[in-house]
Symmetry: C2
Subunit: 364 residues, 2 copies
């Protein structure tokens, strides 16, 4: 399968939705990707099952606070530099590029790198959404170390991290990112084709593309795009359940950038004028949605906020007082809901006291 | 020339004096060094001028807050690991080991590494004293980059830093050190023999050994050791001037650990009961000595505080209210007093507003 310039906008919208509010606005990435596809021609999307077992695959990603990323635009060169530095350390060229997360900017960046280096990008990721930390990926959950890992900044400075565990790698990387000015480019999780096949969430790049396409086609056909989006999601293997959780107006918004994260809470009043209220808490990504105080969706399930009219996904940094929004809940892929996975991406990992409740059995 | 177990105590005392209050108490290092010399036999001290021009030399050093180093004892293995990691990155084995600073713990550590790896240690260093930052060495002043640089912690985690300038390397290293628990082991300034010859301060390891020996011999001969120390310093090529600046009692002491540094001020009343007062400010190392408000010694010249009776050097973390001390001023080597060097190690680099005044022309 090929990705062309014509796919960039649809894919970006799908990635923004799956970002569940985080991962950084894909807009910057879509500009970079359009430019590199225009120069280099279509990009090959390779299915994980077609990978040679001994091929070397690397994850390419941005790390830092989304609010800072928006102000410190990456050129794409830093991403290439981090991949080259890791290849050089490993003494081996990469066969292809992997996405860490299908949500937000980091869904776009691997395509920019693959297109520039003329390498295939694997159709899948390690989150099925966006998460704020390095070790919150199925690659790590299945036992693949994040290091050796390289970080590069816009001045060509490089830091290579090698640790015994991914939490330490995350800690070292985060402190380096702060020293680099709160955002940096990263190459990490060097894996063989066999390791990728045993840990990747398959087909999620195609899922993002399909979501964006469904929204666009509904808009073009003058059909309600939120409704079309829900219908499209219901047909996907990606998720066992997708629901409209709330339609409301933002009546309260608290947001701050602390320790490299965008943290906050929004409150919504029901659009129909009824007594229902919703509260959503986020740390880069939306973490928990409470309806009248009861949990109706909680991480790792996806909580996506979209414009109520256009179904345009709204990132946490794009939230504004008075916005009229639809809140969607999408069941996370089964691989993120296992006991093993919940230890890494479950509510407790984000400081939430509520236990995980699958979307389909939560209060609605 | 060989260094044996019998030299360790003298050498440590000399290193403590040249630490000018900083660089960490050499005591931990002396234990490590005694152990490794007992196991491995005498260590070769090689003169810089005897180095092959194409030999690879590496600096081995500890980085972090001295007050934390005292609580988190290094095993020596971390230092070996950082050297091995840098060798591995460079694809070349080290010919010998260099000291960054002859002051404090970092004067001992290269000997531990050299002894353990059975490699010669070069008789010289990059500071002729101790300084708080990575780029404050003649190696850097003469244009040799500090990176590639490796940092290791007690868990075997490794970080490799590659930057375009040494100030950025210092910033990245410092933030990694904080993430590693405020102290770490480092290998850096990879240089050829030719580069070492063009930038090292020669013979300073021998100077440290001689200082410790002079103090011990005076004590054994029941002569006043501070007097003997000053006489010994006057005979050395190392410094053009060494003076007794003050004899006093510590009547005020302010010290705090901030951003990885031990920062503070002490005030002294004259021991002879006269009206003279001295104030000394430090950031890990003693930076400025003011007598009745007038500068009588300022960085990069050495300000050394010793016990008034025994001439035992006192580090900033060893300062106590009521101590009776002698304050010595020692002119820094000429290489640290050039215009080029003062931009890196002069008073302004430590936030002092006073200009550099050579010890020999300062108010006494």
């Amino acid at each position: 399968m090929k990705i062309t310039v014509d796919d960039v906008e649809d894919y970006s919208i799908g990635a923004a939705l799956l970002g569940t509010g985080g991962g950084g606005d894909p807009y910057i990435g879509s500009l970079l990707l359009s430019e590199s596809l225009s120069k280099g021609g279509p990009l090959t999307l390779q299915q994980a099952d077609d990978l040679p077992d001994d091929a070397l695959l690397l994850v390419s990603a941005m790390i830092g606070a989304p609010t800072v990323m928006m102000e410190k635009l990456p050129s794409g060169d830093e991403a290439i530099a981090s991949v080259r530095a890791l290849e050089s350390y490993l003494g081996q060229k990469a066969y292809g590029i992997l996405a860490a997360e299908i949500g937000g900017l980091n869904a776009l960046l691997p395509l920019v790198v693959g297109s520039t280096l003329n390498l295939p990008v694997i159709d899948g990721d390690g989150m099925g959404r966006a998460f704020p930390q390095l070790q919150m990926v199925t690659y790590s959950i299945e036992g693949n170390p994040s290091t050796p890992l390289t970080l590069t900044d816009e001045f060509g400075n490089t830091v290579l991290i090698n640790t015994g565990d991914d939490e330490t790698a995350e800690k070292f990387a985060r402190s380096t990112v702060v020293a680099m000015g709160a955002s940096a480019l990263m190459a990490c999780y060097p894996m063989t084709g066999a390791q990728v096949k045993a840990s990747i969430l398959r087909g999620t790049l195609t899922v993002a593309l399909g979501i964006g396409r469904a929204i666009r086609q509904a808009r073009q056909a003058d059909e309600p795009p939120v409704h079309a989006l829900l219908e499209h999601l219901a047909e996907l293997d990606f998720s066992t359940s997708a629901r409209l959780l709330f339609e409301g107006k933002i009546v309260d918004l608290f947001r701050e950038t602390t320790a490299g994260f965008a943290v906050g809470t929004i409150k919504l009043d029901a659009l129909d004028g009824g007594p229902d209220r919703m509260e959503i808490k986020f740390q880069n990504e939306n973490l928990i949605a409470l309806r009248n105080g009861e949990v109706c969706a909680i991480v790792p399930d996806l909580i996506c906020i979209v414009d109520q009219e256009t179904a345009a996904p709204i990132t946490t940094e794009g939230l504004r007082y008075g916005q009229r929004v639809s809140v969607l809940g999408i069941a996370a892929p089964a691989e993120l809901r296992t006991e093993k996975a919940l230890k890494v991406v479950g509510p407790a990992c984000f400081g939430l006291e509520q236990p995980f409740v699958p979307l389909e059995s939560a209060h609605l």
